[in-house]
Each structure stands twice: as structure tokens, then as C-alpha cells.
């Protein structure tokens, strides 16, 4: 058993990385729909989308750096280490997933 009880709220950590990926997808899809519906100029729409995309990358990268930079609290025992490792990997893979799924698409024609 773990040396110290890990609070259940840490379960959210497991969803953090891909939660941010989901947020990026939902925001980009919604903003794209809005931009096309309101006939925003293509450059403005693309800039807004790019900023939202970058904001999510910064959030994912920042969180990953923060996690990678410190070890799991030894007092949390094996459960804490497990959570730390899963959170780290989900953040890293969510970063890659965000780049690959959402990045290149932004170069396509905006509302065609």
C-alpha cells in the first residue's frame, strides 16, 4: 500500500493532457465555424485560429515542462509515481497529437 494516500482529485491529472487537446479541437472547430459564418477575412480567421492553437501548445508544453522538471513525491509511494508517469506521458503525447492533428490543417483554405 502507498506510504501516503494520494487524493482522488489527482485522477484529473490523467485527463489533463488530452483534455487540453479536446479544448483545442473544440475551440478551433467552433471559431472556424463562427469565422466562416460571419465572413471574417481569411487572414484574420487564420490568425485567430493560429493564436488559439499556439495557446494550447504553450499550455501543454508548460505543464509538461513543469511535470518533467520534478520527480514524483516520494511520500506518495507507488501510486504517486504511477500518476506522475501517466500524467507526464499523456501530456507529451497530447502535445504531439495537437501538433499533428490541428497544426497542418491551419494552412488550408479557410472556408472552402
Amino acid at each position: 500500500m502507498s506510504a501516503q494516500v494520494v487524493p482522488p482529485s489527482r485522477l484529473w491529472l490523467l485527463a489533463l493532457g488530452y483534455g487540453i487537446w479536446c479544448s483545442a479541437l473544440a475551440m478551433l472547430y467552433a471559431l472556424h465555424a463562427l469565422g466562416c459564418a460571419f465572413a471574417w477575412p481569411a487572414a484574420v480567421l487564420r490568425t485567430v485560429l493560429a493564436l488559439v492553437f499556439l495557446a494550447h501548445l504553450v499550455a501543454l508544453g508548460g505543464l509538461w515542462r513543469a511535470y518533467a522538471g520534478r520527480r514524483a513525491d516520494a511520500a506518495d509511494g507507488a501510486t504517486g509515481s504511477f500518476f506522475h508517469e501517466v500524467a507526464l506521458w499523456t501530456l507529451a503525447t497530447a502535445f504531439v497529437a495537437t501538433v499533428l492533428t490541428l497544426g497542418p490543417s491551419l494552412m488550408l483554405a479557410a472556408c472552402v
Binding site: 472556424h32 465555424a33 463562427l34 460571419f38 501517466v86 497530447a94 492533428t101 479557410a110 472552402v112
Partner: protein, 843 residues
Amino acid sequence: MNAPAEPPPPRSALRLHRELSAIWGSGTGWQRLASVNHSVIGRRIMATAFFFFIVAGLLGMLTRVQLATPKGMFMDAGTYNQVFTMHGAMMLFLFAIPMLEGVAVYLLPKMLGARDFAFPRLTAYSYWCYLFGASILLGSLLLGVAPDGGWFMYTPLSSNTYTPGVNADVWLLGVTFVEISALSFAVEIVVSILKMRAPGMSLERMPIFGWYMLVTALMMLVAFPPLILASILLELERAFGLPFFDPTRGGDALLWQHLFWLFGHPDVYIIFLPMAGVLSTLIPVFARRELVGYTMIVVAIVAMAFLSFGIWVHHMFTVGIPHLALAFFSAGSAIVAVPTAVQMFAWLATLAHGKPRWELPMLYIFGFFFVFVLGGLTGVMLAIVPFDWQAHDSYFVVAHLHYVVAGAFAFPLLAALYYWLPLLTGRSASPRLAVPAFWLIFVGFNLTFFVMHLTGLLGMPRRIYGYHEHDGWTALNLLSSVGAFVMTIGFGLLVIDLLVQLRYGRRSRRDPWRATTLEWAMPLPPPAYNFASIPHIDTHGDRMAPGHVAPALARGEGYLGFTRHGWQETLGVHMTSGVPDQVIVLPRPTYLPLILALSTAAAVLGFLFKAYLLSAAAAGIVAALFVYGAMGSGLKRDHGPLPIGHGLSVPPHTEVVGALPWWALVFALVADATLFTSLVFGTLYLWIAAPAWPASMPPPDLGLAVGAVVALAVAAFAARRSLHALRAEAAPQRWMALAALALFGCIAAVLTLIGALLPHPQEHALGATASVLLGYIAAHAGIGLLFLLSNLLRLRGGWVSARRCTDLRLTRLWLDYSAVSGAIAIGLVLALPSLVAMLGARS
């Protein structure tokens, strides 16, 4: 409070078995209908799902007979439409999803070291709902009025104009009935996994199957509400003329596709993940080494769960969405193959580094690898937009989905069936019939569906009931039909094999596969209580030696190795660490779930036959039965910490903060919030995309709208004060009365707002969506009143005290949620006139 007393001294294994059997047994004869035990219900779900698999399989065979030759005269077009629609709907909604639930209900408590599921009466209710909902669909088929618009019921084909009979209503109501049962199972699975593991089984020690099921159940909570909402909206359109999907009145047919596939695509993974959990459990046993990459597999499961939600639009590549948005979903659809591949390589590495035994379940695992890899590859092909445009709605897609679904679900399921057969029946599998059955299924399956790739590439569209000789599809269709017959003979042989083994199979010894999980640490077949005493886990849950653990558990040397007050006791633990924190006293057998499900079925059937008063009356009975059912739940006095063995004492579940009902409501609200979010999405989607919207909308009555929000806030506040009062051992009734009054006020305000909406909800989607948003608030306020009524009755009955205050905490949580969601809904209704003005009129 009673002082903790030491548990009684250990008894002999046989005496303990008799005492526990007397407490946990389900009765005989008609009393079986009152059973709430997870083993009984799990077996029932699996048997019912298997029955519907056979029916759906036969329907599939009928389609193959029709298409075996050109200009087939076996069925007319109308019958064919019903047959293929019901084939798909039954396979997905009545076989695959319920079967995975049945596997979870039956296996999870055993694998996690618990004596039952978290809410046995809810388990039974969910099963009866599934059975009755499924029976409505089956009955419609027999009466010739089955759904006939394809298993995904696209609008406008399924709208009143083009499907005027009850066919579509049967689908909408029957499937929603079954889906609500699935949501109940999902809540149970999540709570049971998080709170009912054996002591010491911290999350990183949980068997990998537990992780798969936890993520799957969480996905179900988020995936099913959009479909339930879509079904409600379409039924409202069909029954009352609210035009959500009618483009001539401000609706949009594509809204259905969005809501359906928000469910439909994750559903593929909801089906796949539990079976991947089966593979991750079986492969290490037969490879004789532990699973490679446990942590990475957990990461892959989480990644798949999220990615699967972000690619629903890949079913809609041809509907005219701009390329930039399509590219998001195309890339996502391709990248979801990566976490799938992580698991594939983990399984292959486990086999490569182990010493594999080539036993019967491994045949089906081989079948899985072959079929699923092919299905996955064609999935990546279809993820590429230009290819999808070519292959869309052709038999290529039919081939792909059968490769994916059969590969992901059927082959692992059959591996699981043979692996856990001794647990289910107490008898061993014999390869004499099972091996030829496998080869017939495998060869027949590939002959049927591989050929369909070619038929599709040659241009044969889905859902046609006939074709001409000059189309060039004759030989391929005949081959597919021959393959289907070979596969069916294989399944027939499998059924014969199962029946023979049930009747004549050798009695299995305990732990026949030398497995590594806890479900084998019990007699075969398992007793109703699973474990005579609950084990302490000091190693990984996938690396146990159940054969060694079992005798000590049978002697009562684990936790709760005794009986007390005739209670059905099991343990609750801290979510992450697995430290025991409560004794859970479970309810005894009761007919209530059956009666409740019958009443629910009456409400559904009343709606189906447009007998709305009857339906409303039955719904009232359902509500009353829920309140009545809650009356005798829990314990009628404070007990304080109770000894559980090994020198430990923990309070009963009625006296803890993290009681199971609390967590159940939290997760139920996750599903509720998803439904609400889908409703908000639907409103905004129509605002952006639907044609025939006006330039302006009269604003709703601001005073009434603000009044409704204030009333909800007052109710939430009063619920908090009532809880404070109870904890301070003062009378909470006055605060509860204030909350009830506020809720009545809210309902009155909201109903007045609906009555005054312009445009009228039947005239335009704008009014229709506003009325549903307001109706959502009224429904929540109404349910809040039921919470308060239940609280009051239970306070009077002595079931609630300052220490046993879970009831009031539940009410507080419900009213908090109602206030927040209500404020958002009212805010959106108030914002609609501005939003409409912003975009202006469009035709």
C-alpha cells in the same frame, strides 16, 4: 455509538459458506425475478445479448440471401429496409453494448475482490430496462413495423414527412430506453471500480481489465447523452411538431448527424476497449509472463478515449464541411491508430517474450489479430478525405465496419467465452467441436467481408435491396453469401458445443488456466457472495496466484470473514490507495426493480402509441417508485466503526462522506452535463448553420427569466442550510420547505416563459430550442422536488441523522447543479434575440 467489537472467531470454511449462502442467495422459482445479485444479472445480460446476437445474425443472413443473386426476389424493398436496419441496430444496441456490460457486471466484482456491484437494485433495474426496450424493438420486427431508416436513422428520412408510421418511433424510444439502462450500468461500473476494490489494491495495482472498463464506462457517460438528446429532439419533432431537424422551419438535418456521431464514433471504442481489456488479461496468462507496458497501456487507453471523441466528423466527410475543418478530423482519425498500435505491440511483445501455450482461446486471439489489423488499415484509408469521398456509402465501408467490429468485439469475446466458461458453468471447454467452429467462423467471416471491399470498390452502394447482372457484382455477392453461410454454420457449431459442454462437459478444477487474477480464487461456479472473505492485495492485481489465495479466503482469513446481523456486507475503499474506508451493506433481493422497469416500459409504450396521459401516469408511478425504493435504503441507526477483521474497524457506508450514492450522483451529473452541453451545442449549431432563420426574435420576459434563476439559487441555498441544520441536530424541515417553494416558483416561471415563446416552438426551431432549454430547467426543478420529498419521508422514518446525512448532501449537489445549469440555460435563452440579430435573416 457502539464501541468497535472484535469480529467473531473464525468458523470452518463449510459453515461460513452455509451462512453466507443463506444471506446472499437469490431464492428459487418466481423469487429468481427478485434477484439483484451481480452474478445472476450478469449471466442474464450476457444470455439476453447472445440471444439478440443470434436474431441479428439471422437478419444479416436474410440480407445475404437477398443479395446472393441479381434482382433477388426473396424480400421486397420495405421488408429489406427493416431487416438491414434491425440487423445493425440489434448488433450495436442490443448485442455489443449490453454484452460488454454483462461481462463487466459479471466479472468486475470478482476480479476486483468485491462481493457484488455498488447498486444491486440498479443493476437489476438496468437489466429489465434493457430486456423490455429490446423486446419493443423485437416485437416491432415481428409485427412488421420495425425501424427501416438505417441503424443511424438519419433525418430527414426518419422525420414524419418521410417515415410517417411508428417505425422510427420504435427506434427512438426503444433505443433510448436501452441507452438509459446503459448509462445506469456505466455509473455503476465507475463507482464500483473506484470504490469497491479489495483492500490494498491501489490504482496502480488494479488489474488492467479494471482500467479498460473504468475508461470505457467514463466514455459511456459522455458518449451516450448526445444520442439520447438527439432521440428526444427527434421524438419531440415527430410527436409534437417541434422542428429541430426540419430545414423549412429553421432546423437542420445535419444536427442529427453531429449528435448521432458524437455518440457513434466513440461507441466503436466503447466496444473495442473492454475487449482489448480481455486480450490484455488473457494474453499474459497464455504467454506465461506478465503484460508488457502496463503503464504505457494505461496512457494509450486514455489517449484513445479522448481521440475517439474528437473524430466524429469523419462519418460526415461528404456533407459539405469546409476542408480546413475536415482536415482536423482526418488527421485525428489517422492518429488514433497510434494508441491502438501501442496496445498491439504490447500484446505481441508479451507473446514474444513469453512461452505461449496454444490453447483454445488463443485461436480466437489469433483471429482477432488478423481481422482487426485489416479493419484498422482500412480505417486509416477511410480517414483520408479523398479516399472516403470515393468509398463513402459503398460496400467498402460495410466491409471495414464489419472487420473492425468483429475483429474488435466478436473474436475477443469468443476468446473470453472459452476462457471464462469454467467460471460461468463450472465445466471445462473441449476442443473437439470448438476448433472446427473457430475455423468455419474465421474462414466464413473473411470470405464474406473481405470480398465486400472489392464489391464496394466496384461501386456497389450500401442498403440497396437488389442489383442488375450488368453491374458486375454478381460473383462477388454470391461469394459473400456463401461465406456468410459458412460463418453461420460455424456459429451453429459453437452453440452446439456450448450446449454439449453445459450438459456433458467435464467438471473444471479450480483455476484451470493457472490464471493471475482474483476471479479464479473462488469455487467453480462461484457462490453468490463470491469471496467467503475479502482478500488483502499486496502485489499487482494481474500477478496473483489465485490457486494459493483461495483456501485461506474460504476459511475466512481475509476481511469480513464472518456474518453480522444477516447483512450483505462488502468493503469500500479509498479511491486511489485502496485503504478500506467503509463497510457497504447491500440491499437484499426485491421485486422493486422489475416493477419499476415495467412501469418505465408502460411510460415508453404509452408514448409510442401516442397515449400521452397513460405515459405521463406511468412516468408518475416510476417517480413514486423511485421515492418508495429509497425509503428503506441504508441503516436505521448510527453504528459507528464496525470491525472488519485484521484489527481494523471502519464505519458503515451510511456514515461516511464518500458514500457510493454520492459518487454515483457525481458521475450521473457528468452524463447530465454532457446532455446539457449537447443541447447548448445544438442551439448554437442551428444559430450558425440552419437555414430559414428570421432577422429578429421578440425577447422573453426578463422578469420571469430572472425570477426562475433566483428561485433556483434560493432552492440551492435552502438545501445547504437544511444540511447545516441537520448536522447541528436542528430541524431541517423549514429550509426544505423553502427549497420546495422556490422550486415550484421556478417551474411556474419557466412554464409561463415556454407558453409565451415567440416564434412558437412548433413554428420555428428557434422557439423549439428555447423551449427545450427551458424544459430542461423545469425537469431538473421537478426532480429536485422528488429529492426533497424523499428526504422528508426518510427523515420521518428515522433513516437520516446528523451522521447519516448523505440524502441531504445529494439534494444539495442536485440543486447546486440545477442552479448552475439553469442560469446558463436562461442566459442562452435571453441571449437568443441578440444572437439572431447579429447574424440577420437568412433563407
